[in-house]
């Protein structure tokens, strides 16, 4: 199986005035193609820093990070932008859709920064991505005409559109109610079953149980790493939820 993320003794220090904060103190992590990994931990544990580095938004202070076989640890700002554009899809807690911009144009956004993709190709890919999240018929809607769950689906379509090697989700269900959370998780599971590699930061154990492996951070170290047994199926959970009669 192909290794997508291969991290060896990764360190990240922040300098806040005189004080040096060690956010990551030597982390080793391997994520293979087709995995659905939950990154867990309390706030300040280093999980956000980890996600930023995996997403090439930040660079490590020390260590090796091979993304899809390429060492990205020492890359410049522009090189990292190009890597993000081609290999990574982000899904955020607060969706981060452009307001007063249609769903379709929101999904097209990552491809706008790729000069090799024509307008026609961009449109086709964006429509395909919206179809994959079941929102093809809403492509002309503005974000404020969509529910929270639908907005997050648009955001997921956006993360898919460049066909990334890994999708990084940061508390992607954090702003959603239980029902919608399971809807979104069922979408993620569906994408995962089609072979997408997903790294998902969450602090909800229920959500983490939908994934294949969990990695728990504390104080800049990985303290526990285990395959998830009795994996939950989000679609089944959804049907099991009591229907609110109000």
């Amino acid at each position: 199986m192909k290794t997508i993320i291969d991290i060896t003794s990764l360190k990240k220090d922040y300098h806040v005035g005189e004080v040096t904060v060690h956010a990551l103190r030597g982390v080793d992590l391997k994520i293979n193609e087709g995995e659905f990994v939950a990154i867990m931990g309390a706030s300040g544990s280093g999980k956000s820093t980890m996600l930023n580095i995996i997403g090439c938004l930040d660079r490590p202070s020390d260590g090796i990070y091979l993304l899809d076989g390429v060492n990205v640890a020492g890359m410049s700002k522009n090189e990292r932008a190009a890597i993000r554009n081609l290999k990574i899809g982000f899904v955020f807690q607060s969706y981060n859709l452009l307001s007063r911009t249609s769903a379709l144009e929101n999904v097209e956004l990552p491809l706008m920064y790729n000069r090799l993709i024509s307008t026609k190709e961009r449109r086709e890919k964006a429509i395909a991505a919206l179809e994959a999240v079941g929102l093809a018929e809403r492509m002309d809607h503005m974000p404020n005409q969509l529910s929270g769950g639908q907005q997050q689906r648009v955001a997921i379509a956006r993360s898919l559109v460049n066909d990334p090697v890994v999708i990084l989700a940061d508390e992607a269900t954090g702003n959603l109610d239980t029902r919608t959370s399971y809807e979104i998780m069922s979408l993620f599971q569906e994408l995962n079953s089609k072979g997408k590699t997903i790294v998902f930061v969450t602090h909800e154990p229920d959500i983490a149980k939908c994934m294949t492996r969990s990695v728990v951070f504390r104080d800049g170290h990985i303290i526990r790493e285990e395959d998830i047994k009795n994996r939950l199926n989000a679609a089944e959970m959804l049907t099991a939820l009591p229907v609110e009669q109000d």
């Binding site: 932008a81 190009a82 993000r84 982000f90 955020f92 981060n96 920064y113 790729n114």
Partner: protein
């Protein structure tokens, strides 16, 4: 991002805040419109003065009596009686750069015909006077040299005088009028010249032989000024020096004595008169330029607000692969669009305002293309200059901080 997409993104961003974009542009619109209008007004008044001076005659030179000293006492130029017919003769014979010369004497008074009367000014000149003033006779004839030298009681009347004394549009040739009780036979009517730029009616004149005006009207032997035509505009400098030389000789001035007369050319007069309007144009233009600058600062202000407001958007764009330069260009293009669109509207408005001023003042107001191009270039520069700092701030944002920005 390719240029087409950058432009589209910038246009969409401006469309999302139509009112704000318009108000921001308004600063530039007003600035550009006022620069163009002010320069056009300045240019128009300058042109009107130049036209005025050109209508006075062709390659004209004047000799005015200058200050003179009488037994150590400085006399004012108006009291000077130094120009005489002898000077005219000297200029005629000695100055080959001069093609026409005429004395000028003038007197104000009441012109009377039958029961009508009208206050006007009589000008006395030689037969060449009309030629020098590039004036023509539309009905009848000019007086001859013999008449000019022989104090003939003949005259030419301007359109206004003819209208006032004989009635609108009537040709008074052959009639007789009295000026200060001297009867003059009208032998011709002058072509209409209209008002000059100072609002003076140029047709309110009577022109008669200078000898007649000198002897019969004014009872004096000197002349008030000499008017001449140089052979060409290029030769007016030469003509001035020739005339000065001739007059110094006839006035018997010693080497160390100053001229007791002044020779001026039409160009000099034009330069003096237009220099005032030029200063005015610069002042008006500078004030308008300041408003353009204020407009530019308005753009900068709004761009800063926009960058802050859209920090998360910037973070998102960076996270999906936008490089710093893409973000920089996005905001820079927005500010350039604001200033260039504002500039274009301002140019149209400037043309409109100039047309209105032209209609109101009847000055020949012309919008200079150079000022349009200048305004446009300045606008683009303003867009780049005032957009640069906010755009740089956007481009230098850290994507992680930007995404977390509340």
């Amino acid at each position: 991002m390719n240029p087409g997409n950058l432009l589209k993104v910038a246009i969409n961003a401006l469309k999302r805040n139509k009112m704000r974009s318009f108000l921001t542009m308004l600063g530039i619109i007003i600035g550009v419109a006022s620069v163009i209008t002010m320069l056009a007004i300045g240019q128009g008044s300058k042109k009107s003065i130049e036209d005025q001076i050109a209508s006075m005659g062709s390659n004209m030179l004047f000799v005015m009596p200058g200050n003179m000293r009488m037994g150590g006492v400085q006399q004012g130029s108006s009291s000077s009686q130094r120009l005489t017919v002898a000077d005219i003769k000297a200029i005629k014979t000695e100055c080959d750069a001069i093609v026409a010369v005429s004395p000028e004497v003038r007197s104000s008074g009441q012109a009377v015909s039958g029961s009508s009367n009208w206050p006007t000014t009589i000008y006395g000149g030689s037969e060449q006077y009309l030629e020098i003033r590039s004036w023509s006779v539309v009905s009848g004839r000019n007086f001859t040299d013999t008449e000019a030298e022989g104090s003939a009681k003949v005259c030419l009347v301007g359109r206004t005088v003819a209208d006032e004394l004989f009635g609108e549009g009537i040709d008074p040739t052959g009639e007789t009028i009295r000026f200060k009780n001297i009867p003059f036979k009208i032998i011709g009517v002058l072509e209409e010249k209209g008002q000059n730029s100072f609002g003076q009616d140029q047709d309110d004149v009577i022109i008669a032989p200078f000898t007649t005006v000198q002897k019969r009207v004014l009872a004096q032997t000197y002349i008030q000024s000499i008017q001449m035509s140089a052979r060409s505009a290029e030769e007016s400098e030469l003509a001035i020096s020739q005339v000065e030389e001739a007059l110094r000789r006839t006035h018997k001035l010693r080497e160390n004595e100053d001229n007791d007369f002044e020779v001026r050319s039409q160009e000099e007069l034009a330069t003096t008169m237009t220099s005032v309007t030029e200063i005015l144009t610069i002042l008006l233009g500078a004030i308008a330029g300041i408003s353009l600058l204020v407009g530019g600062i308005g753009i900068m202000n709004i761009m800063y607000v926009s960058v802050t407001e859209r920090t998360r958007e910037i973070g998102l764009r960076m996270s999906v692969g936008g490089r710093s330069v893409d973000i920089l260009l996005q905001f820079l293009i927005e500010s350039i669009l604001l200033s260039v669109f504002g500039g274009l509207i301002g140019i149209v408005l400037g043309f409109g305002a100039s047309a209105i001023v032209e209609a109101l003042t009847s000055w020949p107001i012309t919008v200079m293309w150079s000022s349009v191009i200048l305004a446009f270039v300045v606008c683009t520069v303003i867009g780049v200059f005032f957009g640069w700092y906010p755009a740089r701030r956007a481009a230098e944002l850290d994507p992680i901080d930007a995404l977390r920005f509340e």
